[in-house]
């Protein structure tokens, strides 16, 4: 799928992107894609290249651009930096913090503890599908580690 095709996913069923005969309004979608890649600095030759030819960071920028386009109230970011290089991680982090600053709720799901410490105001741990703890980001990593693996507070003493 090309950049323009990717940029409208999830919004492709709206009236503004519908042409006649069940067709998509491709010109409008391409204009949207051009705006998104300009605003989010996605490095691509044009909007008609395959998204798979972009680097991981640029792909993620495109997804961020697409998902932020509608001013969401809640942003759920699932492993947003997995597999990205340092520069791209920095970009994604900045964007997430900006979203927070703009008053949006951001739910970050990540397996990277560093990332969670870096970005979070509150940290929730999950174990076997249940929330096992809620922490402030100044908590020590081993407390979080314990809660993540099903231990309870106070168990540290036993070890």
């Amino acid at each position: 799928m090309t950049l323009w095709e990717n940029s409208v996913l999830g919004r492709h069923d709206r009236k503004e992107y519908a042409g006649g005969l069940g067709a998509l309004a491709i010109k409008k979608i391409k204009a949207l894609a051009a705006r998104l890649i300009r605003d989010f600095d996605v490095r691509a030759r044009n909007v008609s290249v395959d998204a798979s030819t972009l680097s991981g960071g640029n792909q993620q920028k495109l997804i961020l651009a697409r998902e932020l386009e509608d001013d969401p109230v809640l942003l759920i970011a699932h492993q947003p930096t997995r597999g990205l290089d340092v520069g791209a991680i920095e970009f994604v982090w900045t964007q997430l913090l900006e979203q927070k600053g703009a008053g949006r709720a951001v739910l970050l799901i990540s397996a990277e503890l560093d990332e969670i410490y870096e970005l979070s105001d509150r940290i929730l741990t999950l174990y076997e599908g249940k929330i096992t703890g809620e922490f402030h980001p100044d908590v020590a990593p081993d407390v979080i580690g314990l809660a993540m693996t099903g231990g309870r507070r106070g168990d540290e003493a036993v070890r």
Partner: protein
């Protein structure tokens, strides 16, 4: 394996690259297939060049030869399109075979049962009934897929077997001709109002194209179908959603697309196209449904879709190519002492080499594009000068 000395040239348009890549892949594949084929033909003590020349002569020297090629291509275009539409949605419709066989049955029912209609109504009714039969036969594995998760490869293959038996039963009992002393198992002969006229009779070309060439108006319909399928896949919202679930079902679902409903729609469209496959044989050639109807056209559609890279234009060209080979086979049979399987082997080699050549070109292009993108990224990020990549 491939030469890696080419330096990235970011100014070249993606279109040029795409077309250049296509030409390179196709040319390379044909050359390779011709060379390997030559070795096999040589082993039989026949001149390969002579064989290739005969294929060309038999399929292009007279207008009627070319008409035969296009007649051969007609059902293949429909079955290639049927396979491709499903494939774009990430589904393997191996059941085009059964879908067109059932469609021949439903089309025959319309041709026999609605024969009171005038031609202008009867013919469309027969064709639509064929599409309906094919769609219905595809709907069953579609429903099994979305309701129970039964894999479509297994269910469509089984539906093929049921289709054969269903038609055999229909010919033995409900649709069996009432004519006396009939040796062949077949339906009554259709009224001529239900038949598709050949292009030759409509255009007054009977002199050049004999009646044994069944190039009918279904061929232009096949080309029109290519255009419609292209529009559907690449311009409409439905086609967009079909391609989205085919290329990444996870992202498609996150984008609010219902995978199941789309899979069902893709199956129905695929089956409806498949329903057109047998009609040239039924309405342009025989004029009745007999037990010895042409089989294998649905499986051939998989070959066509493969060769045509699941693109409507590619499918039309691939179908014409296979039509040429089939015509060439007739020439080879009368000219040389070669086993009739030779062309099947050639076809096989061609498919393999096309697949491999495309994959090689695709990887090469992807590498080049990635390099170009990386170079661009690097150029811009050193301008911005903060995070040089390690």
């Amino acid at each position: 394996m491939s030469a890696r000395t080419i330096t990235p040239t970011p100014t070249r348009s993606p279109w040029v690259e795409l077309i250049g890549g296509q030409a390179l892949a196709l040319g390379g594949a044909f050359l390779f297939a011709a060379l390997v084929g030559a070795l096999i033909i040589r082993a039989y003590g026949v001149s390969p060049l002579e064989v290739y020349r005969i294929i060309w002569v038999y399929s292009s020297s007279e207008l009627s030869d070319f008409a035969r090629v296009l007649a051969n291509a007609t059902p293949l275009i429909f079955s290639g399109l049927a396979v491709a539409v499903a494939f774009k949605a990430g589904l393997f419709n191996i059941g085009v075979e059964g879908q067109y066989i059932v469609a021949m049955l439903t089309a025959s029912m319309a041709a026999l049962g609605l024969d009171f209609l005038p031609s202008a109504l009867l013919l469309p009714a027969v064709v639509l009934n064929g599409m309906l039969g094919g769609a219905l036969w595809a709907l069953i594995p579609g429903l099994l897929k979305v309701r129970t998760g039964a894999h479509e490869v297994v269910t469509t293959i089984m539906m093929n077997g049921i289709a054969l038996s269903l038609v055999a039963w229909a010919l033995l009992d409900p649709l069996k001709s009432s004519e006396q002393g009939l040796v062949d198992l077949r339906t009554d002969i259709f009224t001529t109002k239900a038949l598709v006229p050949t292009i030759a009779t409509s255009l007054g070309l009977e002199e050049q194209i004999p009646g044994s060439v069944h190039l009918t108006w279904l061929f232009p319909l096949a080309l029109l179908s290519c255009a419609l399928v292209w529009f559907l896949l690449f311009r409409t919202r439905l086609g967009y959603e079909i391609r989205a679930i085919g290329s990444s079902s996870g992202s498609a679902e996150a984008g609010g697309i219902s995978i199941r409903s789309l899979q069902l729609k893709a199956f129905v469209i695929s089956g409806a196209l498949g329903g057109l496959v047998g009609l040239n044989n039924l309405l342009g050639d025989r004029g009745y449904l007999g037990h010895n109807y042409e089989i294998g056209l649905g499986f051939a559609g998989i070959t066509v879709a493969f060769l045509g890279r699941n693109h409507p234009l590619g499918i039309a060209l691939a179908a014409i190519l296979l039509g040429m080979l089939a015509r060439g086979q007739e020439g080879i049979a009368v000219t040389f002492e070669l086993p009739s399987e030779t062309l099947i082997i050639l076809e096989g080699i061609l498919i393999l080499s096309v697949v491999i050549a495309y994959e090689m070109v695709r990887r090469g292009l992807a590498r080049r594009r990635q390099r170009a993108v990386r170079a661009e990224e690097r150029a811009i990020s050193t301008e911005g000068a903060e995070d040089a990549p390690a």
